[in-house]
């Protein structure tokens, strides 16, 4: 939750953040594909303290039948947090937050996939948050995009998630857990980097127009860096022509 009260100073006198980062600096990110052998495609990401795994099954027959669409595949992302992923043990199973995130992630992924190629099928994307450290939805959409690529699902572009926000009245990139808890705003986004299209956009908090556009631009710039990491990760497994799939 944004806006919990606290005496914590989130930006120090040198303009550095609680974890030593500059305002527009990302946390360390590590990616890997092909981590779930049973799946059609999969990937793993460590992003700051986040540890998230994604797997893709499909395109496969959509079941139950009434969910099928005659002219396209349906994309069903399921965002789920492990019971041990957060400080206080979370009851297993979906809650309202995970239902909403599953929905917006499904919609964002759909925008990138050539769903019209696979009528009547389902593309199931399972995102398991093993350890959570703020920004799980944007990390989750990023790792899901890698898993889709690993599964050979044709896409207009890879999709990249990234967030920016405001803490101690400063616009910053990629909030960590303390910044998320005690900050003033969070703007999670997902981008198709080639065209700059925005596939996911949420926001909560309290931002002026200028702060909000600053934050969005910061996130979109960073998204390009993350995009390059995605490309490199896929190249490392599949060789050079990843970008052309």
């Amino acid at each position: 939750m944004m806006g919990m009260k606290s005496d914590i100073r989130l930006i120090d006198d040198n303009g550095l953040r609680i974890d030593g980062r500059l305002p527009n600096q990302l946390r360390p990110i590590k990616m890997e594909v092909g981590v779930v052998k049973r799946a059609d495609g999969s990937a793993y990401i460590e992003w700051g303290g986040n540890k998230i795994i994604a797997a893709v099954y499909g395109p496969r027959e959509a079941y139950p039948k009434h969910v099928q669409e005659s002219d396209r595949a349906i994309v069903r992302a399921r965002y789920n947090m492990a019971a041990f992923s957060v400080d206080e043990r979370k009851r297993p199973g979906p809650d309202r937050r995970s239902v909403e995130l599953s929905k917006v992630i499904s919609e964002a992924l759909t925008s990138a996939i050539f769903v019209e190629k696979f009528p009547r099928t389902a593309i199931d994307v399972y995102i398991e948050v093993l350890q959570a450290d703020a920004g799980t939805r944007v990390a989750g959409i990023t790792v899901a995009s890698l898993a889709l690529a690993d599964a050979g699902i044709p896409m207009r572009d890879l999709i990249v998630g990234c967030a920016a926000g405001k803490v101690d009245d400063v616009v910053v990139l990629d909030l960590n857990k303390e910044e998320d808890n005690f900050g003033q705003a969070d703007v999670p986004m997902a981008i198709l980097p080639r065209t700059g299209e925005i596939a996911l956009l949420q926001m909560d908090g309290d931002l002026t127009y200028d702060e909000l556009t600053n934050a969005m631009e910061m996130a979109m710039d960073a998204a390009k860096k993350i995009y390059n990491m995605e490309i490199e990760t896929l190249k490392a497994k599949y060789g050079g022509d990843v970008n052309e799939q």
Binding site: V99, S102, S111, G196, E197, L201, L207, Y209, L212, M216
Partner: protein
Amino acid sequence: MSSKFTEGVVAESKRSYIHKLASEGTRIDGRDFDEVRPIKIKTGFIQRADGSALVELGDTKVLVGVKIEPGEPFPDTPDMGIMTTNVELVPLASPTFEPGPPSEEAIELARVVDRGIRESHTIDMEKLVIEEGEKVWVVFIDMHVLDYHGNLFDACGIAALAALNNATVPAERFGFGDDFKLPIMHYPVPVTFAKIGEWIVADPNLDEESIASARLTVTTNEEEKVNAMQKGLFGTFTYEEVKKSINRSMSIGKQVRKIILGDENGKEN
């Protein structure tokens, strides 16, 4: 019942028609792109609630009831009241709504309205403490959709704000002193846009919603601060489109806010 096939054909021809109108600068119900449907607000409709508002946004009709009861604070916010929001998409309101536990649509809607209110600090939560760490006021915002003709995000957001603005904390009933008006600090108003082809229209009606490629809700307050955004559907927006939508939301929100407050003031005086 029309067959699925027929539905497809009808939808397709409706889509073309709406696109054509948009290219001519108009809409299926004759509105301008930034024109919201007529808004009617009836506050205090449910006397048994502590605040309520029946809102019509065009033909869309939403009833919000606010109940305020004592409860325990969350351990990490012992000095603040609690608010919860819930949306019931009851099957009375549309042939597409089904009985049963809340759908993902209902959950998203409730959460977007919730964030619009919560993150804007609409309610002064610090004034809702009865005994710090022990007892606080819990504000239940229940939204009951009664007729669905498009754009529930705005209808629910407007109705929730109007109902909160209408609400009294029933302290006396529970033996905690005198009743007092629920302390409202801000007036955040959501404005939702639908992308239709290359055009973006405000307050989409049911037809427009059914063919929109993308949806964007921007909630802004009386200080022109942005408190919440939510993008939906399978399409995308360009950055330019988002920036314009934020600006449009501020100016449309201002008009809507006048209607919400005007009504309430009218009632109060």
